[in-house]
Structure formats: structure tokens, C-alpha cells
Amino acid sequence: MTITPNGFDLDNTGQRIVVDPVTRIEGHMRCEVNVDDEGIIRNAVSTGTMWRGLEVILKGRDPRDAWAFTERICGVCTGTHALTSVRAVEDALGITIPENANSIRNMMQLNLQIHDHIVHFYHLHALDWVNPINALRADPKATSELQQAVSPSHPLSSPGYFRDVQNRLKQFVESGQLGLFKNGYWDNPAYLLPPEADLMATTHYLEALDLQKEIVKIHTIFGGKNPHPNWLVGGVPCPINVHSTGAVGAINMERLNLVSSIIDKCIDFNKNVYLPDVVAIGGFYKNWLYGGGLSSQCVMAYGDIPENANDYSAANMHLPRGAITNGDLTTVHDVDVRDPEQIQEFVDHSWYEYGEPGKGLHPWDGVTEANFELGANTKGTRTNIEEIDEAAKYSWIKAPRWRGNPMEVGPLARYIVGYASGHEDITEQVNGLLTTMDLPVDALFSTLGRTAARALESEYCGRLQKQFFDKLVTNIKNGDESTANIAKWDPSTWPAEAKGVGMSEAPRGALGHWVRIKDGRIENYQCVVPTTWNGSPRDSQGNIGAFEAALMNTKMERPEEPVEILRTLHSFDPCLACSTHVMSPDGDELTTVKVR
């Protein structure tokens, strides 16, 4: 048994369970755990199993194009990398953006938060808690009563409505072609909902599927498409014209009305469906308080949604910034992403090489050389891994640390930082939820806490979206229709050398891009993304990362059926394409192959 510096007792002697692929996530991931005789997880190993090398591809490109490349890091959190990229380039080149561009960017970023959180909860996470097969046993009338009790204002609540959905589900199941539900763990005792709650939630799975395609239309209006809307260094590409000839080729009154109606749909769904579902489902799982991991120790957020354009200070942000270490909620540390001592990445257990063990590098000076090398105790072969050896290198994800600490990022981290720093809206939401559910503050530090924080945030973001819509309209009313600043569009206006950083809060957590520009071209580009933090492997000190920590000490009902593992991993909303793309700044050919 080993005790990690961050306080986890690791014991890898028990039965080894392998989950590969971990499904209902973005990208490719593997997870291995050891369970003891009672089915309790005593060792956890998370492996990022993909790598794309986007930063070397960016080297030598026009920095004004970087948003389009980095946006393709992830199509689930689409847009957030693009936003972070234009912020990094603007920071490097000293470009300011108009207020309208700030409002539109904020609406797009908030829209992503809401969309991503809803799709995550219903389509990626719900099946860890909800059993659609059990829904067949529900009484539609009782389901209707349940629906009206948990959410009196949701219009879709009649017994006939639930009967129709149940019938459709029944025919689907009876066809014998179970499709996406095939081989689910439907008779596992870990599922605790009564049939009526299962039917209600399964119905909302379908409702949310219909709604999510509406939500994203805000991206389509301002950015032309979703996934992967268009952005612009210096502002936003969509012009505004509400008064004059040609308005049909710009953001006009009809477009604004459409945006407004979608904002209202988001607000209604959060209020009538998403939050009530989380409370209702959470109520049945209230004693399942596993999965806290690092959340009660070390959490971090960069902050986002600047009230005023071009001011990225913590005080100007609606989503909070700060770091908490050692579980001390009385002290919220400042986070400075430029400080070479604060954020560093380590590769001792990652498939990269620095040439010097235990070395950490700030992203502006980031170096990455791929080195796919398996440990001596790996079971299987180089191209058929049966069990990984975590004592050696074991992931395509690097290990980022803040002042040496592994950190959890994401909605729960943002809410803990916000709560600890007295953020009014967040504190009110958190206290309200805890009171409703009759739970102590400590209950936040859990898998369910992560899931609940995401729902609260979706609700908060819905209100903020409305706020920035109003701000945009007011600004237009005051005569300002500007959406782009072109003073430094031409590369001839740029300094010979510059470096900048962009930050945002992606749906999954703190996201940073660091760029160096030389002679009008990208010299170096590094991203440290949420799942790099959360999915981090061990570091040279032996600290485990957030995924691994959260799995520790969880009781599995049936170790061969990884329901509990999926629950906790999904509560982070892992995004592996995001986390595993880092690449050498000097663009070396990646031919290093070492086999022990």
C-alpha cells in the first residue's frame, strides 16, 4: 500500500477491473481500478488513449486563423477553444474589442455552457442513474403526478403523454434491437429509481434531444453554424444593422427576436425540467455520496464572462476565478496564468519526454516530445494492452499542477470557488439547493455535487445570457452598432515578437491558451485544458489526479459492471480530444519509439 502526498491510500493488490473504451464521453479513454474483497475501489488509473498533435500543426500559421484550428480540438464544447484563442491573440497583439462583440461572445459562451450541460446530463450521464428498461413498468398516471409534483409549471405532464412515450419505448425494446441501450447494466442493484421516475427521466432524455438542437441556434445566428461557429480576432464577424437598407444581411430585429426566444426556451427548460430532474433523481441517490476526490481539497477556476469588454480581471467576471488548496475554504488564492511558478506541466507518467525527471514547465515554455513507452509490468503487448503499468508512463495526458498541486476544475470547482468567495448568485443557488434537499455543505464534495453544480450553473448561465442580450440591445439603442475593431487586423501593424494568453471557463472547467507570435506567424502555441487537469495521471511526487482521486473508496455493487465508475467519471464530463493534443513547440518529427 502507498499513501500519496495528497492523502490517498493506494492498494493495487485486489482484482483488477479494466474499462476500455469508457463510453458516453468525448474522445478515447481507459480506466483501470483495483477492488478489494468487498468490491471497494482501492486503486484507480485513468489513461487518455488518443493524441492529435494540434499545436505543431499551428506552428507557422497566421495567428488570426488559430481559432479555427483550436476550435476543432473539440466539437462538443464547440466554440470555447475558439474564444480562448482569439483572446490569446488579442492579448498578445494588444487588440481591444467593441462592447457589442463582448456581449455577443458572452452569449455564445453562455449558450455553450447551457447546451453542453443539458446534453451532458441527459445524453451522456443520465443512463448512469436512470434505467429506461425499468420505465416500462411505470404507471403513466403516477408518472404524471410525479411530474406535476416536482415541476408544476412544465406543460408536458399528462398521463397520456407519458403513456405515448412508454408505448414507443416498449415497442423499441420489444423489437429486440436495443441499439444504444444494448448491454446496459439494467439489472444492476445500483439503479435505485422507481419506475415512474425512470419514465419521467427517459421522457426528458427525448425532450432534451429535441431541445438541444434549438439551443445552439444562437451560435448559428452569430457564428453561421453549429457545431463550429465562426469567430474573429478583434470582435465578432457578424455586423449589426437594425435600422437601414440591407439589414437582412446582418444582425437585425428578426435575428434579435430569434435570439431572445431561444434564451427564453433555455430559461424555461432549466427551470421546468433540468433542475427539477436533478433534485428528483438526486433525492433517490442522496446516500450515494461517493466521488468527492479532490473537490474537498484542491479546486481552481480562471473565471469568465467579463461584464465589460477587454477587462479580464477577476472582479469583472461573472463566473468566479480563484484557487483553493488543502480544503481551506477560508482562503481563495489569486490565479495568475502568466506566472511561471504557478501553472506547470509534468510528464513523468505521460507518454512524453522532457529529458529530465521531475521537471515542470510553464506553458509559454512548454516542450513536448512524444515517447510511447509501456512499463515493465504491463500485461499484454505494445499494441494489445491488457493491463497498464501505472508505475511507468501510462497516458497521453500530461500532469498539470498549480503550485505543485493537482487540481479539480469544472462546474463544481467554479461553484466551490464562488461559494468560498461569497459570490452572491452562486451562494444563493447553493444554499437553496442544499435546503431543498436537506443536505449539509459537505454533500457538495461528491459525484452528485458535481452533477448538481452543473445544473445550477446552467440555470445561472441562462439568466446571464438574458442579461447580455439586454445589454446588447441597450447598446444598439444608444447608437453603437460596432462589432469589430480592425485597427490591428493587418499583420504589418504587429510587433515583431509578442506573447499572450487567453482564458475561459469551458463547460468542463478552466481552459488556457498560451501563444507566442514572431514575424506575424505563430511561433509556439500551447493549450492546457480542463480534462488535462481532471484526467491528469500521477506526477513525479506520486500525487494522483482528479479522476483517479474521485474513484477511490467507491463501493461497487458488481465489480464486473462498472456503473459506479461511469457515474463518477461522467460527473466530470470528460473530453479526451481536448486533453491530449499537446505538441512540441519546435515541431520535431515524432518518430521516437522506445520499447522496453
Binding site: 473504451p21 469508457v22 463510453t23 468525448e26 478515447h28 488513449t49 488518443m50 493524441w51 492529435r52 500543426i57 500559421r61 476543432r72 473539440c74 466539437g75 451522456l124 408505448n167 414507443r168 423489437s175 434491437q177 441499439g179 444504444l180 441501450f181 444494448k182 448491454n183 434531444l209 438541444q212 438542437k213 445552439v216 441556434k217 448559428t220 445566428i221 457564428g223 453561421g224 453554424k225 453549429n226 457545431p227 461557429p229 470582435g235 464577424p237 457578424c238 455586423p239 449589426i240 444593422n241 437601414s244 440591407g246 444581411g249 446582418a250 510511447f372 499484454g380 505494445r382 499494441t383 494489445n384 494492452i385 480592425i486 464486473e560 459492471e561 480530444a577 505538441m583 518529427e589 515524432l590
Partner: protein, 366 residues
């Protein structure tokens, strides 16, 4: 082959009336650009064809294709998944994980050997023995080859599977490789775009279910019905191009009037896709309508064609000596001439395209 319900059976058992079913067929016909005469044919197909099993694999990608797929409005994603196909393996949405997921894959492959459609999102990297993308402990490329073996056809979703996309941009460090360079013995339908339009994705699937054959493909292997024309050919801003009315810089008066984005680097003139006709997200908008030029995301190698803000320089529509600046500042009389030249060049190109696009896999029964 085991008994499988037909699409019509499933719709009926879900309480859908014959009348609604026929209405659905009629909508499908019009969505595919077919006349009313095709409605009975579609209805017949749906009454007699089994639900087709689809196995969806993910390689190196960003999941934007899966996300686009669920944005589908007609048909709705839920209807596709519950009633039209049997999505037997799709790791972004499926309930099972690990061994249980792989068992579902094995079972589907065995049960429907030779009859399933393999849909691929992303591509396999070949460097590092394929271990830049690992699935179930093995290189993704192995899984791709294994699953392709029993497929009746392969759909390459998006730019990644079709051409390589961003991870294959220079210098392509992982040697990310498009599907058709790895799978060479199956009919492959490329649906490029980053991502493709949702209704194009579902339109291709519905077409195959309805007519029981591959769509007509162009020389590059793309369905001619959606990729047969350039964005520019059907762009609603095209009259401004022809009239020489261009946006000169971001957010200028011309931008606010919705003039042509050609000088801002728009790749519409060289990009074959349906954005300017079908539109994005239920026709809400498309890039040009929202003020940014097309970046050409459905074209092979679009990442390596210079900056997205560089003008398309090989556009000959203005005639040999003319460029957009000259046209833009010239009098209307000149524009008339430019249009005539443009039209002639377009006609020529059309003729070339016809001779080039005799598809190898055209109208192949699947």
C-alpha cells in the same frame, strides 16, 4: 439472417397511422428533392425493408460529427435512432462501456455480417504503430479494419474520415489517414464538412434506406445531390459578387448591407457543399449569412490552402486580366462583361465536371 422488423412495422407499432406514414414518405421525398411520383416507391421501401443496423466508430476526431448528427431536425435524431436505423454501437451515446460495449459490437457484427453500414467519424493515425488512438487496448486502425470486413458499405462522416481534417494538416504528426486509404475493398461514401450539415447526414442515410442503394457519387466519392454544386453557385449574396459589391473590411458599411465576402477570403467559390441551400441548424443561417466567409471545410486539405482570410486567387470568373479590386471599382458596364465571362467559364466547368464525375461506385446496389 434473423427476422428484423421493417421501418413501417416499427412506425405502426408506435401508433403512427397509415395516413401519417404516407405524409412522412411525402416529406422524405421532398427533402430529397424528389417529386410526388416517388412517394409510393419510398412507402414501398419502408414497408418491406428491415431496419438497417449501423455501427458507428470513432477514431481521431473532435466529435463534432456526432454533435451535428443529433442536431437533425427532419428527421429528428430521436426518430432516426428509435425508428429508422438500429444504432448498435456508438460510443458517444451508448449505455454500455468497456467489455459490455465491445460485446455489443461483436454481436452486431456477427448477427448482421455483410448487412450493416459502418459509419466512421474521425480517422486512424498510423504512426507509433497506430497507438496515437487506442480503443480497447489496441490501435484504432485494427478495429476499423476488423469492423469494415463485414460491412456492406462505409460512410465516412466529416472531413476527418473523408480527407484527414485538422490532425492531418501539415505536418500531420500522427499520420492521421482518411478511411478510404485504409479500407480499399468496400464502397465508401464521403460526407465531408467540419462537421457535415445534420440534414445531409440523415438525408444520406434515409436515401440509402429508401432506395436501397448508394447515392450517386461524384469523382471524389461524395453524394452528388448534396455536394454537386459550389456554395458560390447558390449563395444569396451572389448578385453582389456579380455586381462587384464587396465587403472591404470587417464591419464596414458594405458588411452591414450584406455584400459579398469574397475579398475577406470567402472560399465559397471553390467549395462544394449544400450550406447556401439547406443552411445550418434547420436553415437558421450559414457562415456567409452570419458575416464570415466560408472557410471551405468540406474540401480536401482546406487547412493547408493559406490563411482563411487570403482571397481565392485562382478564381478565373473575372477574366484573365481582371481581379475583384478592378471589378469592384469599375463601372457597371464592365460588370456586365464579367458576368458574361463568368457564365461562360461556369458552363465550361460544368461540362468538365460531367465528364470527370463518372463515379466508380455509382448506383451500386448495397
Amino acid at each position: 439472417m434473423p427476422e428484423i422488423e421493417t421501418f413501417y412495422d416499427v412506425m405502426r407499432t408506435q401508433g403512427i397511422t397509415r395516413r401519417s406514414f404516407m405524409k412522412y414518405c411525402s416529406l422524405t421525398a421532398s427533402a430529397l428533392g424528389l417529386g410526388p411520383a416517388f412517394v409510393p416507391q419510398i412507402a414501398h421501401a419502408m414497408e418491406t425493408k428491415p431496419r438497417t443496423p449501423v455501427i458507428w466508430l470513432n477514431g481521431l476526431e473532435c466529435t463534432c460529427c456526432s454533435e451535428s448528427f443529433i442536431r437533425g431536425a427532419h428527421p429528428l435524431a430521436k426518430d432516426v435512432v428509435l425508428s429508422m436505423i438500429s444504432l448498435d454501437y456508438q460510443h458517444v451515446l451508448m449505455a454500455a462501456a468497456g467489455h459490455a460495449a465491445e460485446a455489443a459490437l461483436d454481436e452486431a457484427m456477427e448477427k448482421y455480417h455483410g448487412n450493416y453500414i459502418l459509419a466512421v467519424e474521425g480517422n486512424p493515425p498510423l504512426n507509433e504503430d497506430g497507438m496515437f488512438c487506442i480503443s480497447a487496448g489496441k490501435p484504432f486502425v485494427e478495429k476499423l479494419r476488423h469492423v469494415a470486413e463485414g460491412a456492406k458499405a462505409v460512410i465516412s462522416w466529416g472531413a476527418c474520415a473523408s480527407y484527414g481534417c485538422v490532425q492531418a494538416a501539415k505536418p500531420n504528426p500522427t499520420q492521421a489517414t482518411p478511411v478510404h486509404k485504409v479500407i480499399t475493398d468496400k464502397p465508401i461514401i464521403k460526407i465531408p464538412g467540419c462537421p457535415p450539415i445534420a440534414e445531409v447526414m440523415t438525408g444520406v442515410i434515409t436515401y440509402m434506406l429508401t432506395f436501397d442503394r448508394l447515392p450517386e457519387l461524384d469523382r471524389q466519392g461524395r453524394p452528388a445531390m448534396f455536394y454537386g454544386q459550389r456554395i458560390h453557385d447558390k449563395c444569396y449574396r451572389r448578385p453582389h459578387f456579380d455586381a462587384g459589391q464587396f465587403i472591404e473590411t470587417w464591419d464596414d458599411d458594405n458588411a452591414r448591407k450584406g455584400y459579398c465576402l469574397y475579398k475577406m477570403g470567402c472560399k465559397g467559390p471553390t467549395t462544394y457543399n449544400a450550406c447556401s441551400t439547406i443552411g445550418w441548424n434547420e436553415g437558421t443561417s450559414f457562415p456567409i449569412q452570419s458575416g464570415h466567409g466560408c472557410i471551405g471545410c468540406s474540401e480536401d486539405g482546406f487547412w493547408d490552402q493559406g490563411s482563411f482570410y487570403d482571397r481565392v486567387t485562382d478564381l478565373t470568373q473575372f477574366g484573365v486580366e481582371k481581379n475583384a479590386d478592378q471589378v469592384g471599382f469599375a463601372a457597371a458596364g464592365v460588370v456586365g462583361g464579367a458576368i458574361a465571362i463568368h457564365a461562360a467559364v461556369s458552363a465550361l466547368k460544368q461540362a468538365q465536371k460531367k465528364t470527370q464525375s463518372t463515379p466508380e461506385t455509382n448506383k451500386e446496389e448495397v
